[in-house]
């Protein structure tokens, strides 16, 4: 920043340095260029691109989205151009911007995760990898990696071996105890944890007497999930010593501040981008203004500054 008196917005998450704590969430920002008419990409701390798989995926048949109370449901089906197409056609434009490009990746088997990770982490311009473990392991009966502590540790450590850039592991909230999963991700070699991904949900079409989404189940996001997401971030920040990126229902500056205050070192803005494409930059500006008003010199003064004398609400097995 350099201006006398202006707060320092830089954040350090383990080995990952970001120029500010605002990142756009995977699946809500395309490959960045869709938002050029609405904001200056150079202002963002980072962009998590749409999740990349080994081969291109068409995604699910429509209907893929619907609105839910103060939120939405999505079952896009992880549609993407594939990691190789991303590296050759999308990444060159993205890396010309002064923002961290975070490659969100996934696979349907351990081998696929490793192969995608190898390609993505070696690509010029990729600052970090974000590992989406909310995917079913098609080789093991479709059980979601991130719902199983052992599978979590195995996929993270397999990816760790081939990943030369900072490794973020994105956790699913659809688990009994997120601390157990978080611990295994750290044991597997995660540098940073990002949480949470969407909550599973459905919507019913009364007239047609069927589920609204063609694929049935989808992920819920938006303001409706903020209290749940915030609690899960709070639990991981209190229970473990790993850097955390918080997300889930962040629509405004105040929402972002709450996640930072409970211990997230950075935040992701997702569904808000659909409601107002300039959300991420507005939230960034709001964080800066808050730090100035509160006479805090840096984001780190805010992170984890929730008072210690409240009730202990971390229940873990």
């Amino acid at each position: 920043m350099g201006l006398k008196g202006a707060p320092d917005l830089r954040v350090q998450l383990g080995p990952l340095t970001l120029k500010n704590p605002v990142i756009t969430a995977s699946g809500t920002f395309g490959y960045g260029t869709e938002f050029l008419p609405f904001l200056d990409l150079n202002r963002l701390g980072g962009i998590c691109v749409k999740g990349l798989s080994l081969k291109p995926r068409k995604g699910n048949p429509p209907p893929r989205t619907c609105e839910t109370p103060a939120g939405m449901l999505n079952a896009i089906g992880l549609a993407n151009v594939g990691v190789e197409e991303f590296v050759s056609t999308k990444l060159p434009a993205l890396r010309s911007y002064d923002t961290a490009v975070i490659a969100n990746i996934f696979g349907e088997s351990l081998e696929e995760y490793v192969e995608v990770a190898r390609i993505a982490s070696a690509a010029k311009g990729v600052t970090a990898l974000e590992l989406n473990i909310s995917c079913p392991n098609t080789e093991r009966g479709g059980r979601v990696f991130g719902c199983d502590p052992d599978a979590t540790r195995r996929v993270v450590s397999a990816v760790r071996r081939v990943c030369s850039v900072p490794l973020i592991v994105k956790l699913t909230p659809n688990v009994t105890d997120i601390l157990t999963i978080a611990r295994e991700a750290v044991k597997g070699g995660a540098d940073v944890l990002s949480l949470v991904n969407t909550f599973l949900g459905i919507a019913v079409d009364l007239e047609g007497r069927r589920l609204v989404l063609a694929s049935g189940v989808g992920g819920v996001s938006g303001p409706a999930i903020k209290p749940q997401a915030l609690y899960l971030v709070y639990q991981v920040c209190r229970g473990l010593k790993v850097p955390v990126i918080g997300m889930g229902g962040i629509m405004s500056t105040n929402d972002a501040l709450e996640f930072l205050m409970v211990g997230a070192g950075a935040i992701q803005v997702g569904t808000a981008n659909f409601v107002d494409p300039a959300s991420s930059v507005k939230i960034l500006e709001g964080i800066g203004e808050y730090l100035e008003r509160s006479q805090m010199g840096s984001v780190s003064e805010l992170v984890g500054s929730l008072r210690d004398d409240g009730p202990n609400v971390v229940f873990s097995t």
């Binding site: 395309g30 938002f35 068409k58 429509p62 209907p63 549609a79 303001p223 569904t271 107002d276």
Partner: protein, 225 residues
């Protein structure tokens, strides 16, 4: 995309087409079908709303052929809403236009005088027979297609079964037809990948985003299930 500032529920902006543009104002014509459109209907003069646009690809208007064949607008129900904005553009390009407008009942036949006042030939069908020809708007189209060379170009907007039927008729007659599609949409700017439709790609298909790769698409491209 229209949204109510400060509201988190309903959360998402609503995609609306321009009905007409006048000096200093934009007109939008809509039906009340859910919570978002109910809120729109409840607005009063002086209330504030946020609008993001214009978005998406507009209709293409080729030069009319020498043969005198007409541009035909096929509207089903509230699909009529997009056509006032198209009429002056068709006329500037030199087309003579016909509007084929089908609704369930005569009460839904809006804007007829406007179209006639702007030189558009108007033909009507109502499902209950309360005005015009009893039946579907596709019957009106079939009548025109029965005389080859009458229809030079077609534009259609309305419920999906209507678009499918109209598209099939015009594809079979080898008459170029552009459809105005709609879908459940979250962002309207190509980011969420929610609003897709199957589109022909060689012998395979891709999912195209109606918001930015449409909403207008050639009837020959769309693959209906």
């Amino acid at each position: 995309m229209l949204r109510f500032p400060g509201r988190q529920d309903p959360l998402l902006p609503r995609p609306m087409s321009l009905c007409n543009v006048l000096p200093g104002r934009i007109q939008i014509l809509h039906k009340v079908v859910g919570r978002g459109t109910a809120l729109l209907a409840a607005l009063s003069v002086g209330d504030r709303i946020q609008a993001l646009g214009p978005l998406g690809r507009p209709f293409e208007i080729p030069a009319p052929p020498e043969t005198g064949s007409r541009a035909v607008m096929v509207a089903g129900g509230i699909g009529i809403a997009i056509f006032p904005f198209l009429v002056p553009a068709l006329s500037r390009a030199g087309w003579k236009s016909t509007l084929l407008f089908g609704t369930r009942r005569s009460a839904e036949l809006v804007q007829l005088d406007w179209f006639r006042a702007h030189g558009v030939e108007v033909r009507i069908a109502t499902e209950d027979g309360s005005a015009g020809r009893q039946g579907l708007v596709t019957a009106l189209l079939q009548e025109m297609l029965a005389v080859p060379g009458t229809v030079g170009m077609a534009y259609a907007c309305g419920p999906q079964p209507m678009l499918k039927a109209v598209g099939n008729l015009l594809n079979a007659a080898a008459v170029p037809c552009q459809l105005s599609l709609e879908a459940w949409m979250a962002c309207g700017i190509g980011a969420c990948l929610g609003c897709v439709v199957k589109v022909r790609r060689g012998s395979d298909f891709v999912y195209a985003r109606i918001c930015i790769e449409g909403p207008t698409m050639a009837a020959t491209e769309v693959l209906w299930d």
